[in-house]
């Protein structure tokens, strides 16, 4: 019963997310979405008149941020069943921004269907997923932003330690950054206390580490025995203070914050695992005495960073 309840709640949330992506504001327009780099596709509930559809004057499109700049339409294509209209624009569209599309006096079979003001945006679910993957791999905090190095080099000697540290860190960072997001959005920002960011966030991080410590000790002593030692180290990791600062700078909402912190945590886990695998092998290699220990670890990290450079500029969806 309990499990079914969970599944129901999850499906509900996924539906809400999907619906926020495709729902339109007009009953006659079924769907409106981006296509390729410079196209917008509209699907209507019924066939539209060709003379109306082909007239550029009937459409006006602008980015939600600056309504003054109207985007120029170069071509309009109508599908054979007259239900789908494809607008082609002169320049590539910035698809991260929501666009407002106004369609005047839609004519269908000689009857007017009124004017529609539509919002075109990317599927929200995909956007969230791209934040997750972005923080995890493309902008990996260790290899492309160079954060959290102290803990990274300290705990990457053995695979078991690395995985333990990575998992503990992921749990704490999600917990801590969601709390600091909440505090920033609902306390610091409304009262114009932005300058207290650093003080408040570091306090919250210490608090949440202490909270996770206490809760874990009571709820699951076995797990505490395995991961308790890493909890102290979490505070010394600057990723945990960087993520709340990034969230505050970019004004992310709750879902985006969750995805970014989850991505940062798992990205750190991936980096630690990769590094520890190499360092276990290095133990057996014949490294020159001057390079033994940390220096060779730094050089290996440099090679990883070069490899991760290959992901830069990649975009998903």
């Amino acid at each position: 019963m309990d499990r079914r309840h969970h599944i129901l709640v999850c499906t509900f949330f996924i539906w809400v997310l999907l619906l926020t992506g495709c729902a339109t504001e007009h009953r006659f327009v079924k769907k409106v979405a981006f296509k390729d780099k410079n196209k917008v596709v509209m699907t209507f509930a019924g066939p539209v008149d060709e003379t109306w559809a082909k007239d550029v004057a009937n459409y006006s499109v602008y980015e939600k941020q600056d309504p003054d700049i109207l985007l120029k339409i170069t071509d309009i294509a109508l599908s054979p069943d007259k239900r789908t209209v494809t607008l082609t624009f002169e320049d590539a569209l910035n698809q991260d921004q929501a666009h407002i599309l106004t369609v005047t006096e839609m004519m269908s079979a000689g009857r007017s269907q009124g004017t529609a003001i539509l919002t075109v945006k990317k599927l929200y679910f995909g956007y969230l997923f791209s934040i997750l993957i972005g923080a995890m791999i493309i902008n990996n905090f260790v290899f492309t932003k160079y954060l959290g190095l102290c803990v990274f080099f300290g705990t990457s000697q053995k695979k078991t330690t690395a995985v333990g540290m990575g998992i503990t860190f992921t749990i704490v960072i999600v917990f801590a950054s969601m709390m600091s997001w909440f505090l920033y959005q609902f306390v610091l920002k409304p009262y114009h206390l932005d300058f207290l960011q650093v003080v408040v966030f570091i306090g919250l991080v210490s608090l949440s580490v202490q909270a996770v410590d206490t809760i874990l000790r009571k709820v699951n002593p076995a797990l505490f025995k395995a991961f308790g030692v890493y909890l102290v180290l979490v505070i010394a990791n600057c990723i945990i203070i960087a993520v709340p600062l990034i969230l505050a700078d970019n004004e992310y909402n709750a879902w985006e914050s969750l995805m970014l912190s989850l991505g940062a945590g798992t990205g750190f886990l991936i980096a630690l695992f990769l590094m520890s695998s190499v360092r276990e092998k290095l133990e057996l290699a014949n490294v020159p005495p001057t390079f033994r220990g940390l220096p060779i670890a730094f050089v290996v990290a440099g090679l990883f960073a070069l490899a991760f450079l290959g992901f830069s500029g990649m975009s998903i969806f």
């Binding site: 600057c238 203070i241 005495p289 001057t290 670890a297």
Partner: protein, 178 residues
């Protein structure tokens, strides 16, 4: 350690971050030395953290106001001084046991040492990567663009550590030989 790799792409960045760290180190050392008698031993670490966070906020706002361009280049790293292990370590090991004057000099020495290291890294990376120093063209060409890439920070720190190890090895060998 993190900013040593992330930010040391030029002498100017190294200098600015060094000054910020110096400032935070000196002032939090003095603060802790002043109030050390009133801190309960069990809450000393949170007290250190909050003291550092306060001074970081101060230097962050000052830099943002007076050198906005360089501040933008350093981005989030100034705020991240708060998670610096060496500052906390210094407070724990020195400032909480000594007088204000002694803590001041200790903080100054630590800060200057860090600044020097950052500027050396910045010097090598700017000269080899961009062929410039402090923004002035020195070489007229770019010898190794690789060093301007962020990934080179790791290599350079690794190489510098190896160099110090080497000096130590040679020194010990000499001492034994004598």
């Amino acid at each position: 350690m993190c900013p040593a790799v992330g930010i040391s792409t030029s002498v100017m960045n190294g200098l600015l971050l060094g000054i910020a760290v110096l400032f935070v180190q000196v002032f939090s050392s003095c603060t802790i030395a002043l109030i050390k008698d009133y801190i309960h031993p069990r809450i000393r670490i949170p007290t250190y953290t909050l003291t550092i966070a306060t001074w970081v906020t101060v230097i962050d706002l000052v830099l943002a106001a007076y050198v906005p361009v360089a501040y933008k280049a350093m981005g989030i790293f100034v705020k991240l001084i708060v998670a610096f292990a060496i500052i906390t370590m210094r407070l724990e090991m020195f400032a909480c046991k000594n007088t204000v004057t002694a803590s001041f000099w200790d903080g100054l020495g630590m800060g200057l040492g860090f600044m020097f290291a950052m500027m050396t890294l910045g010097f090598v990376r700017e000269l080899l990567g961009m062929g410039t120093l402090l923004g002035y063209d020195i070489l007229g060409f770019r010898p190794l663009l690789f060093f301007a890439l962020p990934a080179a920070g790791f290599f350079l720190v690794g190489l510098m550590m190896a160099m110090f190890n080497y000096i130590e090895v040679v020194y010990n060998r000499r001492k034994k030989g004598l």
